[in-house]
């Protein structure tokens, strides 16, 4: 019970700033979430005339009491979705959010599977217990054909 209450309090503590940010956004945070369309950089990193005008417009919208979502919608209406630093999580743009995680999952799965197969392969290749030849001194046994040719060569050398 105490744990549940602590978790709830923690969630509320995290949610409160997010809600405040949505209801009362600041110019500084919106400048990082909006892009200058002609300079391909966030507004906070651009002093281009269009960026300055966009900052002034965002300030006006904040002063009008618009929420962060409303301001972003207005900027998209004026300039298109390219002004958003992060693509909206809907439609085709959802791929940009999902694909990296899917890629990580698939890549991680592939690496895990390969590692599992590799370790199994090593177990399968290992000689049965008790079959190890002390004369081999831990080395693998030679191919019989190669072994025969090596013996012949050594015999010729001895002669």
């Amino acid at each position: 019970m105490r744990l549940a209450a602590a978790l709830l309090l923690g969630a509320l503590a995290l949610a409160a700033p997010a809600g405040a940010s949505e209801e009362r956004p600041t110019l500084a945070e919106l400048e990082t979430e909006l892009y200058c369309p002609t300079c391909a950089s966030p507004l906070d990193q651009s002093d281009a005339p269009i960026a300055q005008r966009m900052k002034a417009y965002v300030s006006d919208l904040i002063a009008e009491g618009r929420t962060k979502g409303e301001i972003k919608e207005e900027m998209v209406a004026q300039f298109g979705e390219r002004v958003l630093a992060a693509p909206p999580r809907r439609g085709f743009n959802l791929l940009a959010w999902v694909l990296p995680f899917a890629g990580l999952l698939v890549g991680g799965g592939a690496v895990g599977f390969a590692a599992w197969r590799w370790s199994r392969g090593r177990e399968d290749d290992a000689p049965p217990e008790g079959a190890a030849d002390p004369a081999l001194n831990g080395r693998s046994r030679l191919d019989p054909e190669l072994d025969r040719r090596l013996d012949e060569a050594l015999a010729r050398y001895d002669d």
Partner: protein
């Protein structure tokens, strides 16, 4: 893993990598390529058509709807300083030659609606004004790099002269503007 499954996985992987490589090559090959080359003089090219929302009144306006007229297509923005200098000159040109079938068409680029309307009021722009909201007409179709930039379209819808990058009322730009305008009006 069965041989068939392994083969299918390998073919799929090669297919995906090939598709991504193809996409990369296509993207590099077509990047920055517009319908209008950077230098026009001596070439006969159809002006890329567009249909954009009007600023000065409700509705849309397309370039093709002005066929039979000489059109000076001027890309501008309210935040652009040289655009303030040339706007009165363009208004005077429109008033002077409109009886000869000339239309100055102002295409507002990357702007806020209310700024664009305020700019048009302040500088007394009475010629047709439309909005290139996403900047695709200037950049993708006309190969423009910024504002102001001006093109001349003859009565048959062909581009005449060359593009002018800069305020058309100023020095050398003005001489070129007069030359291209005469060429277009003679068409």
């Amino acid at each position: 893993m069965p041989a068939r499954l392994r083969l299918a996985a390998q073919v799929s992987a090669v297919g995906v990598v090939s598709a991504l490589l193809g996409l990369l090559v296509w993207s590099v090959a077509t990047e920055g390529r517009s319908k209008v080359p950077q230098r026009l003089e001596g070439r006969t090219l159809a002006a890329p058509d567009f249909e954009l929302a009007r600023i000065d009144r409700p509705g849309t306006l397309s370039l093709v709807s002005l066929r039979g007229k000489v059109v000076v297509v001027n890309f501008w923005a309210s935040w652009c300083k040289p655009c303030k200098e040339e706007a009165p000159f363009l208004e005077r040109t429109w008033q002077r030659y409109r009886s000869q079938g000339l239309v100055v068409l102002g295409v507002d680029y990357n702007d806020v609606d209310r700024d664009a309307r305020g700019f048009a009021r302040r500088y007394g722009m009475t010629y047709p004004l439309v909005r290139d909201r996403r900047g695709t007409v200037l950049v993708n179709d006309y190969g423009g790099t910024g504002v102001p930039e001006t093109f001349f379209v003859d009565r048959k819808g062909k581009l005449v002269g060359d593009r002018i990058r800069g305020p058309v009322d100023d020095g050398e730009f003005r001489k070129r503007f007069d030359r291209y305008l005469r060429l277009a009006l003679r068409s």
